[in-house]
């Protein structure tokens, strides 16, 4: 699963010379396919966790611990605002608001797909196999690595830290939605302050 997500990111980097749109669409499609595939595979027993019973119980436990939807959304909004806080003190970029909406839409889709794949499918698989701590750390590592081709080594510590925070948010709320909200809000800030 981790290798598939990383391969999708590598494919995106390879396709970048053919245009940002094409590479982004292919990347998004790969993440969607990975999430869909994992959704089907989740019904199968996990050999490493001692069979399907434990895995299913873990999933049930995860779902039963899930925070209420409104509370989870609020948590996502708060974490997004906290992640955005350090950049809002910077100089405004003056990018035109009219061009923001199409960029914001695609940014939200990609952020949500990344969260569905990493904090959804990948987290669930790692959590079943090795527990939540391993799931959070593995998710943060994959999150940092998938951004390596685009932003280079300099951005990796920050991306790993944000991946850790989003993994923690996933574990606390039991949901992917707040992670997608926090991620999207933090991304949108780049339009105004980057």
């Amino acid at each position: 699963m981790s290798a598939l997500v990383l391969a999708a990111s590598l494919l995106r980097a390879v396709l970048l010379p053919f245009g940002d749109l094409l590479s982004t669409v292919v990347f998004g499609a790969c993440l969607l396919a990975i999430s869909a595939r994992e959704g089907k595979a989740a019904a199968l027993p996990s050999p490493a966790s001692g069979g399907g019973k434990f895995a299913a119980a873990a999933r049930r436990g995860d779902e039963s611990l899930a925070m209420g939807r409104i509370a989870a959304i609020m948590a996502g909004l708060m974490v997004g605002a906290v992640l955005l806080a350090p950049v809002v003190t910077g100089r405004l970029s003056q990018r035109p608001l009219a061009d923001f909406w199409s960029w914001a839409a695609i940014s939200a889709v990609i952020a949500t797909l990344e969260e569905t794949a990493i904090r959804g499918a990948l987290y669930r698989r790692w959590s079943e196999e090795a527990g939540p701590a391993a799931a959070i750390i593995a998710g943060a590592a994959v999150f940092a690595l998938i951004h390596l081709p685009r932003y280079g080594l300099a951005a990796m510590p920050l991306d790993a830290a944000v991946g850790l925070a989003l993994g923690g948010l996933r574990a606390v709320t039991g949901r992917v939605l707040p992670c997608a909200i926090a991620h999207t809000i933090a991304d949108w800030g780049a339009w105004f302050w980057a």
Binding site: L32, V79, A105, I136, A140, A161, V162, G163, V172
Partner: protein, 251 residues
């Protein structure tokens, strides 16, 4: 609180604090998703009428390069809005005796020299110079330095250099993929500007690029709609499957 949540809360706090601390580093990227943020609008010293309302003044930049054993070991300078960037190699300057450093500056020129006949300025004219410190005496160049300029929308044929007497055409290398940057090997201090023949059409003005712009917009729209529909269908299917009661095992 379950163990999973305790671990999650710890990761959330540690990750958030680390992210806030790392944001302070200038090399850090503030985005996490991999979408390229389009560049901020070009800053004009004398903006065209259609962007006058939202134009911001261009910024200058300067840097101090230390002198070691009588020579500068190289370095770079850029304007604060990153519209002009220049790099110097080792030994590019000849510095006067006693100099401890060289201060280089790039400033947009509000009163630039007139361009040659039949040629238009494209964007800003920048005044580039370096002086020795602490004396303020001029330094001389022993070679070329690398200069990259951001180009405004529209046509650009080349970057030219004015040495105080006339404009000189420089061999200009344009960035691939439509990126609005061009670079030259600059041979002197003075005024630098992007220029185009009067009436030259920008690459963004022909029929193919116009179609390409629309294709990109509708491509993004289609992308959002398709993935949105797939996500909604998947969610509905998941909910439907959850509602179907499982058959009881036969005894």
């Amino acid at each position: 609180m379950s163990r999973g949540r305790r671990v999650g809360a710890l990761a959330l706090v540690v990750g958030t604090v680390a992210a806030m601390l790392l944001h302070g580093r200038p090399s850090s990227s503030p985005i996490y998703d991999g979408i390229i943020v389009p560049p901020a609008p070009y800053r004009y010293e004398s903006p065209p009428s259609n962007v006058r309302n939202r134009n911001q003044k261009p910024l200058g930049g300067q840097a101090t390069l230390p002198v070691n054993n009588g020579q500068v070991s190289g370095g770079g300078v850029q304007t604060d809005d990153a519209q002009v960037i220049m790099f110097f190699g080792v030994g590019t300057f000849k510095v006067p005796p006693g100099a401890t450093s060289v201060q280089c500056s790039i400033e947009p020129d509000p009163n630039p020299p007139e361009p040659p006949a039949g040629i238009d300025l494209r964007g800003n004219v920048y005044r580039i110079g370096c002086v020795a410190q602490p004396s303020g005496a001029p330094v001389t160049l022993t070679g070329t330095f690398h200069l990259t300029m951001r180009l405004p929308p529209g046509a650009t044929n080349d970057i030219r250099y004015d040495d105080g007497q006339s404009w000189h055409t420089l061999t200009t290398l344009f960035a691939p993929g439509g990126d609005p940057y061009a670079s030259v090997n600059a041979a002197g201090f003075g005024e630098y500007a992007a220029m185009a023949r009067t009436g030259a059409q920008g690459s963004g003005d022909n029929i193919f690029s116009t179609l390409g712009r629309y294709a990109e917009f509708y491509g993004i729209l289609a992308f959002v709609i398709i993935f949105g529909v797939i996500a909604v269908v998947q969610e509905l299917r998941r909910r439907r499957q959850q509602q179907i009661p499982k058959p009881r095992p036969k005894r």
